[in-house]
């Protein structure tokens, strides 16, 4: 049944982000306000802010590229050396939790599980989502923000330009894909159009004007409808009010946003490599977290497919063959993984730089790093390594390695996330019958909780 909450959540997908609720913009900036001292403080109207980031690298995440030598069973990471591909995380080892041994055999991840990677169900090329994905479900559960869910996708420059939005990983329900944003100019316009200048500003104003007129026309066309249709059509009109209202609400906090909006430089308009856009997309995603606009960020490096390009870090090969390379010890994959980890570090540092409550934003954040392709491109999904960074306000163990001893699917990790976010969930997107085959237990992963 349609209702206002679902409508608003539904809007999330459209922008690659969601409008949270009808509260005032200041209330909804991740429930934060900025004190005169520049310190982010909790808004009185809200619960503790929390945020989750999903970083999905395509082509698999081989365990030997993340499990330290000597880690055969669950233990502390202290005294262990992180493998070369993730060495950038060494200084953050106390915030890291490496999980080995989850599985996703039911998601048919060979080449990519696509929506199944975050949905925990069967996916594949051309297979539509069969339910909402964990990032979307979390965005609904975490304390409301202006746009609870933002998805960004990184690919070759050519693909990002010709297909600036694409939907492969996230979904708000069965048959309802959520688009990733890959053109930073468009994304900047969406997030910060109101405080932009130059061409982005022009685009923003023109689009705003059209949307205002569309809303007006929709309202006129809704007059004199039969009573039974008024509510249903009213939701359509309300959708435009929400779109336009978001713009207005962002405008009311423009001074706040200015503090966090990245500076538009030459990489936006004239990128030399695809990684220029990868970097600025990450900046935009992080800024949306820092400014409190969003509570859930999904990053698809390779956009959930089996291609992708990283020429900017010296990887001349692109595309499908990268997946055919055996990752352990391979210099190309070491570079890509290192690049990923540098991004993770940038995110953590950025969130660490913002005080929040008695600590920093990073204290209330969890970064989930994994692949939409389990451990490798041609895989049956029997092992699906995951790294967690941060502890989401103390909910997760850190500084440790967990080797799963029992048969638990990635769904169980997602159920854990939902529980920590505040929504009771024994199984995520898995009914009892399927669970009997694929899950040896039920409920959250006790192994990863603090």
């Amino acid at each position: 049944m349609l209702n206002r909450r679902r409508m608003l959540q539904g809007f999330a997908g459209g922008l690659g982000a969601a409008l949270g609720s009808p509260f005032s913009a200041k209330d909804l900036l991740a429930a934060t306000t900025v004190s005169s001292a520049g310190r982010i403080e909790l808004s009185s109207a809200s619960t503790s802010p929390k945020r989750v980031v999903f970083f999905m690298q395509n082509q698999g995440f081989h365990p030997s590229t993340c499990v330290p030598e000597g880690a055969k069973s669950s233990r502390s990471l202290a005294g262990l050396q992180l493998p070369e591909p993730i060495q950038a995380l060494e200084p953050y080892k106390d915030r890291l939790h490496i999980i080995n041994g989850l599985h996703g055999t039911h998601t048919t991840p060979s080449h990519s599980a696509f929506f199944g990677a975050l949905g925990g169900y069967r996916g594949g090329d051309g297979v539509p989502p069969s339910a909402g994905t964990i990032d979307y479900e979390l965005s609904k559960t975490l304390p409301s923000t202006l746009m609870p869910h933002l998805c960004i996708g990184m690919d070759s420059l050519e693909n990002m330009k010709s297909k600036p939005t694409i939907a492969n990983l996230s979904a708000s329900g069965a048959g309802q894909p959520i688009f990733m944003h890959s053109n930073p100019n468009h994304l900047y316009q969406m997030l910060y159009g109101g405080i932009s200048s130059g061409e982005i500003r022009q685009q923003f104003e023109a689009r705003s004007s059209v949307m205002d007129q569309v809303e007006h026309l929709a309202e006129i066309n809704g007059k004199r409808l039969p009573t039974a249709d008024q509510q249903r059509y009213g939701q359509y009109v309300q959708g435009f009010r929400d779109v336009n209202g978001l713009r207005d609400r962002l405008a009311t906090v423009s001074d706040h946003l200015k503090k966090f909006a990245p500076e538009v430089d030459g990489r936006y308009g004239s990128p030399e490599f695809e990684t220029d856009w990868h970097d600025v997309l990450l900046d935009l995603g992080v800024s949306a977290l820092k400014s409190g606009i969003t509570n859930t960020l999904t990053i698809g490096s390779g956009r959930g497919e089996i291609f992708g390009s990283w020429k900017g870090i010296g990887v001349e090969q692109q595309g499908h063959n990268l997946g055919h390379i055996n990752q352990p010890g391979n210099p190309i994959w070491i570079k890509i993984r290192q690049y990923n980890c540098q991004m993770l570090v940038r995110m953590m540092e950025a969130l660490d730089s913002i005080p929040e409550g008695s600590g920093t934003m990073m204290d209330n954040t969890l970064i989930v790093y994994t692949s939409n392709n389990a451990d490798k491109q041609h895989t049956n999904g029997a092992n699906w390594p995951v790294m967690l960074l941060g502890n989401l306000d103390g909910a997760f163990k850190t500084g440790c390695f967990t080797q799963m001893d029992s048969k638990r699917p990635i769904n169980s990790l997602y159920a854990t996330l939902l529980n920590v976010a505040g929504k009771s969930c024994d199984r995520f997107n898995m009914n009892e019958k399927v669970a009997k085959k694929f899950d040896s237990s039920e409920g959250p992963l006790r192994e990863v909780l603090a």
């Binding site: 409008l19 104003e205 004199r224 409808l225 039969p226 085959k437």
Partner: protein, 833 residues
């Protein structure tokens, strides 16, 4: 129950007399004046609390203290509504309330639930198509008891949101030119057919695939490189009728995505492949650009080569972008064209001016190209591009408050009844010239469209998909080991199911083409449309002994072949002493499926409609054969893998769902919702048959409902959950017995030996035909039938039957009925009976 001519005449006379107020009585759906104290309480006391009262109340349900409907007890009242409407309660062995009291109580409950649940989204169950059968079949097709007063029927004024399939097909018209209908190859997808789902089951619009002559890489590289847009509008239902007007709206996520899609579409309309590729990629000689295609560019848009011939429709949008200037005339032409293309009717002068102004404003802000794209894209969000109005705002209501649809609303209603694309020129002219106002006008156009095969009618096929639910097979996620045990290839199963859906589509169209005994033929035909790979799906699952024998035979054959090769080698060495024997070619072991004895399927070449090229050379192929099913193993659609797998689950058959389908869609029975207290799980016993595991449904509490479903689904145990025919299960002869009970037709009830026996009996039933007509009514009227529709249903059934089981006659009858033509702007909220 059968309907004879005299009964119908009696009914009409009765109806006539009641319309004219010669008798005082109850008007179904109008419980005005009824209250809990004045009516419902007494009903409970008279008919319910004898059993459901006191300390030993039946089933632990005590209704003695039940008060007026409120938020707390609403679930209990909903259950009472279902039980009384379905005639389940009071039970047959006690004195039954009369029909009018039953109607009054159920109408009162619906009204009260609707009122009390208004703030919680309303009470929608009574208008859900799955509850359509809650209206008594015998009252619809039989004689009404005295005292029931019927009104002339109509449907409510309303907005229909377009379906995802309609929307995608509508947008596809803007950028792709589909081939004209070829009477020599009638199954090939042609202009007006729905855009089908792709190789993976995703509904998408593809850009420029008809011009792609080369690409780098394989299937996945193609799928990644090619430009496509997924369907934006959503549909939450996967079984049964999916598109009542009241189901959906367009949310802001969808609206935002539509705007983005619109910009891509407008650019493609303007520039064709140049909007998605570099100029050098457009050539008829791919070799001439070999230097630009070097390296591994698989999966990139630049890996595609497009032919130079223009395939897309050339429209005023193209002319606007081709011109140096965006003058008033060009903008007006573009606006008017696009408006009609997405709403199916021309804009009014005022609407045209409004959108021209938006385009001009955008051009002023962003320049001609970007401004035109942005401004024109707003038209895709016009209300009538996403909703189809049947508001009947003009016209004078008759004495019953009904207003006839006319002109564009009536013309588009007729068009929408059959088609997903805009009205053809004949219909458009008729509308524009004021010749779409009467019932005869409707009949003229419907008969014309039905008689012309070149006018594609995807809505009719959509009805059969919704009715039979045979299009879910590819979406049923199978456990790999369980699937493997059925004998089919686990790697190609999902694809095979999407192919099977397309095959069943085509079979239905072939039956519709003959238009004789349509339902009966669909249920009993021995014909089947197949692909080459279907010889496995239509084969026979070998028994354990046969499978072991097959494995042994293959092993023996391999050993004999090795022996023979060895002997030949020895002989060669003897004949050529001292010489090195030539390298033996490694003979490829034949791939033998030991689990399945494949069927031999041969027949005339036919075609099925499949997606545009979505997966390179691995895309779905239209080639099919019209074959005959193996004798004695299958009969009609319900025994085809597409239907069987659609009604299965990850591990096994779904006998309950199959049984429910037959109970609801053929017999016309209703099943109340599962009480929330029920843990609806079968035990997990891999070494036990489904029939045995379903023993839990035979517990008293469950069996009340399950006895009406399970024995109808279990005869299909003659197939495994991939739809393969089998005679044994777990080493024993498979039990395929079943039973029809309480069908409402005594001739129908009784034991059945297997699915074929069951189907033969059902296919011969007139009641089953009537239930089919009820579903057709729901689909085309967009609502559940009420008792006021009895005459329409009977007329439709008579038209179908008198014309030899003609779907066309049925459609003409329904589409010229008052229920289709008349609208009521204010329908009482409680009209459920």
């Amino acid at each position: 129950m059968t309907i004879g001519e005299p009964r119908t005449i009696y009914f009409l006379l009765l109806t006539f007399s009641l319309f004219h107020g010669t008798a005082r009585g109850y008007t179904p759906g109008d419980p005005a004046g009824l209250t809990f104290e004045g009516f419902a309480k007494g009903f409970l006391q008279d008919h319910c609390t004898d059993c459901h009262g006191g300390s030993d109340a039946e089933a632990g349900l005590n209704l003695e203290g039940l008060g007026p409907i409120d938020e707390i007890n609403q679930a209990q009242w909903k259950s009472i509504w279902a039980q009384v409407a379905l005639g389940e309660m009071p039970p047959s062995d006690v004195e039954s309330p009369d029909v009018i009291d039953r109607l009054k109580l159920t109408d009162w409950i619906v009204r009260e639930l609707s009122n009390h649940l208004q703030e919680f989204g309303g009470f929608l169950a009574s208008s859900d198509p799955e509850k359509g059968n809650f209206v008594d079949h015998d009252l619809l097709f039989g004689v009404l008891p005295p005292g029931i007063k019927l009104n002339p029927t109509s449907s409510p004024a309303r907005l229909w949101r377009v379906t995802p399939q309609e929307h995608v097909t509508r947008l596809n018209e803007l950028i792709n030119r589909e081939p004209d209908y070829d009477p020599k190859k009638p199954g090939l997808r042609s202009h007006g057919d729905v855009v089908p789902t792709n190789h993976g089951g995703e509904l998408k619009i593809y850009f420029g695939t008809d011009r792609i002559i080369q690409w780098q890489g394989g299937t996945v590289a193609y799928a990644t490189a090619v430009k496509s847009l997924p369907a934006v509008l959503s549909s939450a239902r996967d079984h049964g009728l999916k598109n009542y007007p009241s189901f959906y709206t367009v949310n802001s996520a969808e609206a935002t995505q539509i705007l983005g899609a619109a910009e891509d579409i407008i650019r493609y309309m303007a520039y064709g492949p140049l909007s998605i590729a570099q100029a050098y990629q457009i050539t008829d000689d791919p070799k001439s650009i070999a230097d630009k295609m070097e390296g591994d560019i698989r999966g990139l848009p630049s890996s595609i080569v497009y032919a130079t011939s223009v395939k897309r429709p050339i429209t005023p949008i193209f002319e606007l972008f081709e011109s140096d200037q965006a003058n008033d005339k060009l903008v007006k032409q573009a606006v008017d064209y696009l408006y009609e293309a997405v709403t199916f009717r021309p804009p009014t002068e005022s609407q045209s001016r409004t959108y021209q102004r938006i385009v001009h404003d955008s051009i002023e802000k962003l320049g001609k190209e970007q401004g035109s794209v942005l401004g024109l894209s707003s038209i895709f969000l016009e209300r009538d591009a996403l909703f189809r109005p049947e508001l009947a705002e003009e016209g004078t209501p008759d004495s019953f408050g009904r207003v006839k649809l006319k002109d564009w609303e009536l013309g588009l209603a007729v068009n929408h009844a059959l088609s997903y694309i805009k009205p053809d020129s004949v219909l458009r002219d008729a509308i524009a010239k004021g010749k779409m106002t009467t019932r005869d006008d409707v009949r003229r156009e419907v008969e014309r469209m039905l008689a012309d095969d070149s006018i594609r009618k995807p809505r009719v096929l959509r009805f059969f998909r919704d009715y039979f639910d045979y299009d879910r097979g590819g979406y049923i996620c199978k456990d790999t080991a369980a699937l493997s045990s059925t004998g089919v290839n686990t790697g190609s199963h999902y694809r095979a199911m999407f192919d099977a859906t397309a095959s069943t589509d085509r079979l239905i169209e072939l039956v519709l083409q003959d238009d004789k005994d349509v339902l009966k033929r669909l249920l009993t035909t021995e014909q089947i449309v197949v692909t080459r790979g279907d010889n496995l799906y239509l084969g026979r699952r070998r028994s354990q002994d046969e499978e072991a024998a097959s494995v042994a035979a293959a092993k023996l054959a391999a050993e004999e072949a090795a022996e023979k090769a060895k002997a030949e080698l020895e002989a060669w060495k003897l004949a050529n002493p001292g010489e090195t024997p030539p390298k033996q070619k490694k003979s490829r072991q034949p791939s033998i499926n030991h689990k399945i004895d494949p069927a031999t399927l041969r027949g005339d070449k036919v075609f099925a409609r499949v997606s545009r090229r979505s997966f390179g050379n691995g895309s779905m192929k239209p080639d099919r054969e019209l074959a005959v099913v193996p004798e004695g193993q299958r009969m009609g659609i319900l025994t085809h893998p597409s239907w069987l797998v659609s009604h299965s689950d990850a591990m096994d058959n779904h006998a309950i769902r199959r049984g429910r389908w037959i109970r609801e869609r053929l017999i016309g029975g209703g099943i109340p919702d599962i009480p929330i207290t029920v843990d609806a799980m079968l035990p997990d016993e891999p070494k036990t048959t489904l029939r045995e595991r379903m023993r839990v449904t035979r517990e008293d509490y469950c069996w009340t409902c399950h006895k009406k479903m399970d024995p109808l689904g279990l005869p299909f145990e003659m197939f495994n959950h991939a739809g393969i025919f089998r005679e044994t299960e777990l080493g024993e002869v498979v039990n395929t017995s079943g039973k029809i009970i309480e069908s409402g037709d005594e001739d129908l009830d009784g034991e059945v030996s297997d699915a074929i026996d069951l189907i033969e009996r059902l296919a011969a039933s007139e009641r089953v035909e009537q239930v089919f007509v009820r579903h057709a009514f729901r689909f085309w009227m967009g609502r559940n039938e009420t008792l006021h529709d009895a005459n329409v249903l009977q007329e439709a059934h008579r038209a179908y039957r008198d014309n030899g089981g003609s779907m066309r006659a049925l459609l003409v009858s329904l589409l010229t009925s008052d229920a289709f033509i008349y609208r009521q702007r204010d329908t009482p909220a409680s009209s459920t009976q």
